[in-house]
């Protein structure tokens, strides 16, 4: 039966459908509802465990540790909390623990505008922790898709043995839409990591070789381990080349928008072509190159000052134009006028 479901509810239900049995979190707008739902679920389902941690650092560490212990686990936060989780994110990649980090973005930096939506944590997906790691990140744009992508993210996490990031924004988190989540059919991947208590393994954030032996002075062992990791992550990412593409009337201009922005610019579909990446990271290089090729003008519309635009520029080796929707100001009219301005005289 269809009923009104919010983005955060869909995220939580998606995790439950994927088999999640552990949640750790810390209250933060606009992701607190997920913590509340987890608390309620832990009350009625003894198989579901939840921890309201003392900070996001603890929440993220608990999520990863629970995954090592044998539970499908996830955490939910917003930008400032995600900053605190960066340390754990790097550790999660080092110990290869499948779990989900959900980040509902709000205007930053720091506390910023706690109730206003933004899309400004893209660089935090990849750049926040020390060293090289290759996270996979998805960004839905509707309540139903939030549900489906959450399951996809859990599957990708199990396959890549790493924390996978699901992004949303304050608007999407609190967006209510009609959806019938029970009717959505999904495929759920089984656990791939043997739980603790089954061997003599060492899960360490210190550099180690494939067998888990600490190797702090061995470039070759490190290289082997990191290349393995990279290859595995990129292979899994290739399994999910998710995007949407709507060709429009204007043969010259392509708009790139994702998440809630893609919903806001949807009325421009008649005129412009629109490309919506759903897998935000690793950047859809092949797909972007193919799609953008016939267009003279590429305009990236996003809730930050050009974070995805810079990735897109790298991917297609061309200049793109930017329409940064800053400070939570996502107004179609304003976006439209900005596009006109960019296209004037071209």
């Amino acid at each position: 039966m269809k009923q009104l479901v919010s983005g955060n509810e869909a995220i939580f239900q998606g995790a439950i459908r994927a088999g999640a049995t552990y949640f750790a979190g810390y209250p933060i707008t606009p992701a607190s509802e997920i913590l509340q739902q987890a608390a309620a679920r832990a009350e009625e389902d003894p198989g579901f465990r939840f921890l309201q941690a003392e900070d996001e650092i603890a929440a993220a560490i608990a999520t990863i540790s629970a995954s090592l212990a044998g539970a499908k686990s996830f955490t939910a936060t917003s930008g400032p909390g995600f900053s605190l989780m960066q340390e754990a994110l790097g550790w999660g990649h080092a110990v290869e623990a499948p779990c989900i980090f959900f980040n509902s973005m709000r205007v930053g930096p720091s506390t910023g505008m706690p109730t206003q939506p933004a899309q400004s944590d893209l660089l935090q997906i990849k750049g926040g922790s020390a060293g090289d790691y290759y996270p996979i990140a998805f960004y839905p744009n509707s309540v139903e898709e939030s549900f489906r992508l959450m399951v996809t993210a859990f599957n990708a996490a199990e396959e890549s043995l790493s924390p996978v990031i699901v992004l949303a924004d304050a608007l999407l988190s609190h967006l209510y839409e009609m959806a019938d989540l029970d009717a959505i059919e999904v495929v759920v991947a089984p656990r791939t990591r043997e739980p603790l208590g089954r061997g003599k393994r060492l899960f360490t954030g210190t550099a180690h070789d494939r067998m888990g032996n600490v190797k702090t002075n061995d470039p070759e062992a490190y290289r082997d381990w990191l290349n393995d990791l990279k290859e595995r992550h990129l292979q899994v990412a290739d399994k999910y080349p998710l995007f949407e593409y709507f060709p429009g009337k204007d043969p010259d201009t392509l708009l790139i928008a994702f998440g809630i922005t893609s919903r806001i610019v949807a009325p421009l579909k008649e005129r412009f072509s629109i490309f919506r990446p759903i897998r935000i990271y690793p950047v859809l290089e092949k797909e972007l190159e193919k799609v953008t090729q016939p267009y003279r003008h590429i305009i990236v519309i996003e809730g930050n000052d050009g974070q995805y635009a810079s990735w897109a520029e790298c991917a297609i080796s061309r200049k793109v134009m930017k329409v940064p929707c800053l400070g939570g100001g996502f107004k179609l009219k304003w976006i439209q006028s900005q596009i006109e301005e960019r296209l004037k005289g071209r």
Binding site: R49, I57, A58, I61, S65, A66, A69, L196, G197, K200
Partner: protein, 352 residues
Amino acid sequence: MIDRSYKELLKLKRFPHTWCPGCGIGAVLKNVAISLRELGWNDRNTTVVSGIGCSGRMAGYMNLDAVHTPHGRALTAAEAIKTVRPDLNVVVLSGDGDLGAIGGNHLLHTSRRNPNITVFCNDNEIYGLTGGQAGPTTPKGTKTITSPRGEIFQPLRLGRILTTQAPYFYARTTVYHLNHFKACIREALFWKGFSFVDIISDCIELNGRRLGFKTAHQMFKWFDERFHIVEGVRDHLKDDELGIAKREVEAEVKAEMEVEKEPKVLIEGLKLFTLEELKHFDGTDGKPIYIGYKGKVYDISTSPLFQGEKRMRCHIAGKDLTRDIEIAPHGEDLVYHFPMVGKLKVKAEAEK
């Protein structure tokens, strides 16, 4: 004859271990392994978790599934593992800097939540791995490379922090008092709940030498001078005592003086309000704001919520709030701050 089967719990192929000659961490590792072995804990039912630092390397030498967390996060990781897998025995092996400084917040909150885990803290009063900087437990006046004139602050007293709220288990011992050390380990492993063993240990290379000791044994003798063992179970340990402080339930708190909540009626013959009449006093046109509560009427116009230009939308004015306040987060004492101006006529009474 001595039982040496504890060696099965150690990754001997990785020996000699990484610590300096005479370091106390080796003794902690060995004695924990001996105790685990005595209890029959093995790789099927036990997990060790450690943080970062010299002592954080202990987990890697245990022949068990081990988790080596980022700096300071061992307790959280251990708690999460215990939550998900109550069948596993979870042991934390870490150091004072890891647990007390960078992980201080987790120490406070994990101990408050009281998961059934055991923590062995190698307390060497210094940051050894990074070269001998002053740590959270470095005694006042100690010269280190970051306190060249002597540490100026009082040390963090783990024993006092951890014994503020029952249930708690805190033991202090040293690597020198071996029998006491082993007894503490065993007691801690048996304790149902969060148990913490503060093991005073020696860092001879990076702390001891600066203090004027030549060998680990001289530091041991110094521990013997500084501390003495106290027998029996205590509620708290003094700073120079070695022993066990534990308590299962909070001591009875003396019943506080019953605070008189009901305000005294100051005016005899209070005005009687019906619900209809009460509705008029909603703050509009300069009228006062009245609310009804438990048969009385209160004037809440002075509440800070209703002052100034942007005053709170007054949806509660002129209503009987008895039921609302019962379920509201702020209690009735909030209402009693305001002057009582009359009695409320309830329906039954009005009909009479």
